[in-house]
Amino acid sequence: MDLLYSIFIDPFVQMVQVPDLFVQTLWEGLVSGVLYALIALGFVLIFKASGVFNFAQGIMVVFAALTLIGLYTLLGRWGLGSGHFAAFVALALTIAVMYAVAFGVERLMLRPLVNQPDIILFMATFGLTYFLIGLGEIVFGGEPKIMIAEQLYLPKGSIDFKILGGLVSLQKIDIAAAVIASVMVATLAVFFQKTRIGRALRAVADSHKAALSVGISLEQIWVIVWFAAGIVALATGIMWGARSNVSFALQIIALKALPVLILGGFTSIPGAIVGGVIIGVGEKIGEFYWGPLLGSGIESWLAYVIALVFLLFRPQGLFGERIIERI
């Protein structure tokens, strides 16, 4: 009885009694949800446009962020100073590096693997993950680094609201992350639906052979889409790095994007955002109110279990296209 009370009633009583804490938790969840969504967005981009489930998206986030910081320090050492200008030069250079990565991936990995089964391509991105981890550690070192948020004109500090008889504080950087995520999603949605390249991307996702036969250059499309995913990774890396440090541990956190994808569906860009928010909020609320019952730390698996339960009822995700199977 006591247990049932503490599971089904007590958390809700707490929510009502201390509403400001509830709102704060909700906001925290929302923000981490947006960040999960940003990673998931990278996955969706590549999956939508090449049918490849890109396991390396997480490490691409870390890699992009580390490249940015590394280039910034390098520029500082070369005497370009350490102000806003150097930061933006570093940003531009990082984008160039991400393009190089996309180009290399296409040339060395995807091109020889064209028309292989999905599982083989999936495994290949595993290889890419390990490769990038090793490369990143050798080039940048393993210790956590501080993101150059201030130099990139990202806001710092927090805004406090006095509502519901308490204090709710919102980090400005979180608000910026939410705004940037929304802008990115909107841009990508327009890009996919309205532009020529967007349509070509969707054609490639449907069938490699058919796309080739109507004259779409597979090579070009792959470079474009991996480059776009690289830029999304860079944005994610900056945002996430500005909240905490940039380290390789982020790569494991990036796995959280997988349940987000399942919730939202592998092919839906809005789905990634909605799924991210659901997972983020569910996780934080679950951890805060029900976590102590189980001995805390449930954040590490709650997202997966939410996704698992969800899968049983709607295997194609919230916004995913219905899977029709034929023999």
Partner: protein, 376 residues
Amino acid sequence: MFYREAGQYKSSYEADAAVFPLRQDRIAIAAILLVAFVVLPLTASDFVLSSVMIPILVFSLAAIALNILTGYTGLISLGTAGFMGVGGYACYKLTSAFPGINIVVHIALSGFFAAGIGVLFGLPSLRIKGFYLAVATLAAQFFLSWCFIRVAWLYNYNVSGAIEVPTRTLFGVTITGPTASPQARYLVVLCFVVVMTWLASNLVHGRIGRMWMAVRDMDIAAELIGIKLYQTKLLAFAVSSFYCGVAGALMVFLWLGASEADSFNINQSFLILFMVIIGGLGSLVGSFFGATFIWGFPILLRVLPDYVNALIANIHGLLYLPGRPIVWVINSATVEHLQFMFVGALIIFFLIVEPHGLARLWQIAKQKLRVWPFPY
């Protein structure tokens, strides 16, 4: 020439359906077993036995487990290490609850606990497949890892949060615990691996294995010819997790000697997946190749820097630059990262050059031997 079936006639269906129909194969396998059971324990050093052979055998078993699920049944699993952990912890609980029963029995029994958990997490596999299932097994991995840390009952409320393997004997010989000799541990692991590989070989060559492969190749078609999908998939999960559990118990009791939750983290799952991919999906012998390769390669790399550094120093001396310090020395951290890069690059390389893994290379080699000295 060397490997030809000429003159070997079969007079019964049993002989024709044998796993090793050729005399050369039977001789080879007997020779390998002889080396493994007699020559290695007598000649190999303790280091080779306890840090090379035992891990390779344990990982081979785990790779067979994953191969049954992924290679034969086509269900991707990223929760291998979690299921191995279930086996390890179950064995620990069993041997502390019933210290009178022999440890070997406990190791075998712990597989059933893992199988139970495996079936539980395999339940969604009817409705979902492919990447979705991979995420579902990821849920198992993270949930189980969390259990190994938070559920203190599993490690008998030990303050350190780790399990210490008690000393147990078999026929009067100590086989677990700190005093066990590498030879004894190696032989016990080897017996387990040989017996379980033999069982797995019979499973995958028989009716059940064919059911699994039918499900892998096209599940709807398999259903139409009368294979019950749900039972078949769950059976694959159960058998695979059983093997995982035994591998985990062997890992804790006969290899590591002590274990904490970190031994069963997600990276371990990935490692075993790589072994299966590089070894060859859907091949038992490939599991051994993959485990040997992935485990042996880093050991080689670890030995390598000493030589390379010596070489660099030599060149340095030859070039006669005594005033300048040696700039480029490979240290162990760099080696570890290089290892990551190499493994990653190798995976991509293998997928491009030979998507069917080392097992296919072995087949090609056999074919070449068969027709030698002719090209085809």
